[in-house]
């Protein structure tokens, strides 16, 4: 943790217990008189968010992402550990923390549908204790910034889903918080709306110096938006690194040779420096996929050798490309088997 950390989760543990009476057991499909189930939403979760940073929290459903957001906003209290926002303990100084945090929770309505966006902002601004002297101007500025200026007097129920989500972000920003927590901000939105929201989040972080925590399933959102990424699964933070570093860490040297006919992969696999060789059928025809050693010199040598072998076998080489790692493959690798 650095001195620049605005949000800090220190060794958080959280367990939820559910009790069922006379319900059908989801696993055995048998009716049970009583069942007690424990879910670990956080097990020694430890990370921080720097000032002006976009931090992404990725994880499958039920991994504990929303619980982390709710713990930062004081809606859920950790069983063990502490959460700090701007140096304030969320549990002890909750009201002061709430003045520094804006939250958009996933799948909730947040805004009052019979009111207009402007009326919503004025209402929530008062509830969030925004001084009267700045409230109206700030509401107008936010609607202008997010692109809802021409919809400010239209009832929320008449707005599209993307526009409602934009309004939810405005509501979270009305008290000018230092930290913005976005729980699945682009889920269910069309491409344009998701793009617009991504751009606005970038803008408000880079230009306005806020810290943002984004939880998402969408790997493209995370890869494009986040400076640093934490991957959470079954309540455990299994990776937490700058995006580039995370991609580099899991980068594999995989080369795809597009050829005119299949070749004997066993010969290729026997070459020194080759870790794996296989044939793949692509839309353009067959492809020889070679995973080679990360060691630079040996890699260079083996690549030359593969090309020579193909030439010797009179195989036509249409093209050669290196397969890029993306966050999705890293994510699947990390969360596919939680015990790995």
């Amino acid at each position: 943790m650095t001195d620049n950390a605005l949000v800090e989760l220190r060794h958080i543990y959280k367990k939820f217990t559910t009790k069922h009476l006379f319900l059908i057991d989801e696993e055995t499909r048998k009716r049970r008189f009583y069942k007690r189930k424990e879910v670990h939403a956080a097990s020694d979760v430890h990370f921080s968010i720097e000032r002006g940073e976009i931090f992404g929290l990725l994880g499958p459903n039920g991994a504990g992402k929303t619980t982390a957001v709710k713990m930062i906003s004081g809606l859920v209290r950790p069983d063990k550990g502490a959460v700090y926002v701007d140096g304030l303990d969320v549990d002890k100084k909750r009201r002061q923390v709430l003045r520094r945090v804006g939250v958009v929770l996933e799948g909730t309505r947040t805004s009052l549908w019979p009111l207009t966006p402007l009326e919503n902002l004025l209402y929530y601004g008062t509830l969030k204790d925004v001084p009267r002297s700045v409230l109206r101007q700030r509401a107008h500025d936010l609607l202008d910034f997010i692109g809802l200026k021409d919809k400010k007097n239209v009832q929320v129920r008449r707005l599209s889903r993307g526009q409602k989500q934009k309004l939810a972000i405005c509501i979270a920003l009305i008290a000018d918080p230092q930290v913005l927590l976005l729980d699945e901000p682009t889920t269910g939105l069309d491409v344009q709306s998701a793009r617009a929201i991504k751009d606005k989040v970038m803008e408000m972080t880079r230009e306005q110096g806020r810290s943002v925590l984004v939880t998402t399933h969408d790997m493209h959102v995370a890869q494009e938006l986040c400076d640093r990424i934490g991957i959470i699964n079954h309540g455990e933070l299994i990776a937490c690194k700058p995006t580039e570093e995370l991609l580099a860490l899991f980068a594999e040297q995989i080369f795809v040779f597009k050829i005119d006919r299949p070749v004997n992969v066993e010969t290729m696999a026997a070459l020194p420096g080759v870790l794996k060789a296989e044939m793949e059928e692509t839309g353009d025809g067959p492809a020889l996929v070679m995973q080679v050693t990360p060691e630079t010199e040996l890699r260079s040598e083996v690549l030359y050798r593969i090309v020579d072998l193909l030439k010797e076998q009179q195989v036509l080489l249409h093209g050669l490309q290196q397969r890029q790692q993306n966050l999705e493959s890293i994510f699947l690798k990390l969360t596919g088997d939680p015990h790995q």
Binding site: L75, V76, L98, P114, L115, L127, I171
Partner: protein
């Protein structure tokens, strides 16, 4: 100070919704009036058995007034407690509750302001309906209510805090156990029935029933309100040299129900707020705060 800002925001919100959905507001009042009239008419003029039992209503319009008043106070209690139970539950479902929980004013302050504004609206519309129904029943003649502003205002404020205290307690339970909302409907119906049938004769039961009735949140409020609105008498304090009273005020302030109402108001307000804060804190640990 912050409470009044929140209350103003709530007032503006309700006013906008009331104005924007004016047709719903007016039809709601007309339907309420119609239902009460049908109920009273049915009660008085229907089957012979009921007619015999309720004969006093025919001769004494005050009997019907008593019933209507009980009905309206019951509706008020039903509404106030409902804001803490079904209101809270529906806000949790839509996600608005999570926003209220994240307000630096605190959930209790937001809720108090919201209930206060809701109650003012409810009192105004109920007042109009009570007057319209009693006027219709008594045909503009005898049986009109005594409107003594000061005691009525004091009693309404005490009744409100009495119900809010009780509502906070039930609302706290709803924060933790959302399913309690269904049970709360029964509690609300119980309060409604109590308000309709509450009268002084109920207190002549063997020990400890009268004390239990006194501690229920609506019994003495209803008795005292009915007392002022139906039987109000003025009590004079001192006389001038000319024989004029120096001061006059309502005899309800000498009525035992008024003092019981004070006691129950203090009891429920403190207990309700304490339980609500405790359960709000507990629901944060359970992870149920704001969510459904």
């Amino acid at each position: 100070m912050s409470f009044f800002r929140v209350m103003k925001a709530e007032l503006v919100r309700s006013f906008i919704i009331m104005r924007r959905y004016w047709f719903r507001t007016i039809t709601g009042m007309i339907i309420g009036y119609g239902m009460l009239m049908v109920l009273v008419a049915g009660f008085i003029y229907s089957r012979p058995g009921v007619e015999n039992a309720m004969d006093r209503f025919k001769d004494n319009p005050m009997g019907a007034t008593n019933f209507i008043l009980g009905f309206m106070i019951g509706m008020f209690a039903f509404g106030v407690v409902g804001m803490f139970t079904q209101g809270l539950q529906s806000m949790a479902t839509t996600g608005v509750l999570e926003q209220l929980c994240m307000s630096p004013h605190g959930l209790a302050t937001n809720f108090m302001a919201q209930t206060m504004v809701g109650s003012v609206t409810s009192i105004i519309s109920s007042g109009i309906m009570v007057y319209a129904v009693t006027w219709s029943v008594s045909r503009g003649g005898s049986g009109m209510l005594h409107w003594d502003t000061l005691p009525i205002l004091i009693l309404l404020i005490l009744t409100f805090f009495n119900l809010v205290g009780f509502g906070f307690m039930v609302g706290g339970l709803v924060l933790v156990f959302k399913q309690v909302g269904q049970v709360a409907i029964l509690v609300r119906m119980g309060l409604f029935a109590l308000a309709v049938f509450a009268r002084e004769e109920m207190m002549h039961q063997p020990f400890p029933i009268p004390y239990m009735l006194h501690m229920l949140p609506i019994t003495d409020a209803t008795i005292a309100l009915k007392y002022v609105l139906i039987h109000n008498q003025m009590v004079s304090v001192g006389t001038t040299e000319a024989g004029e009273p120096i001061m006059q005020f309502s005899s309800v302030f000498f009525h035992s129900s008024f003092y019981w109402l004070l006691v129950s108001c203090i009891f429920w307000t403190f207990l309700g707020l304490f339980v609500f804060r405790f359960l709000e804190d507990y629901s944060r640990s359970k992870g149920t705060l704001g969510s459904y």
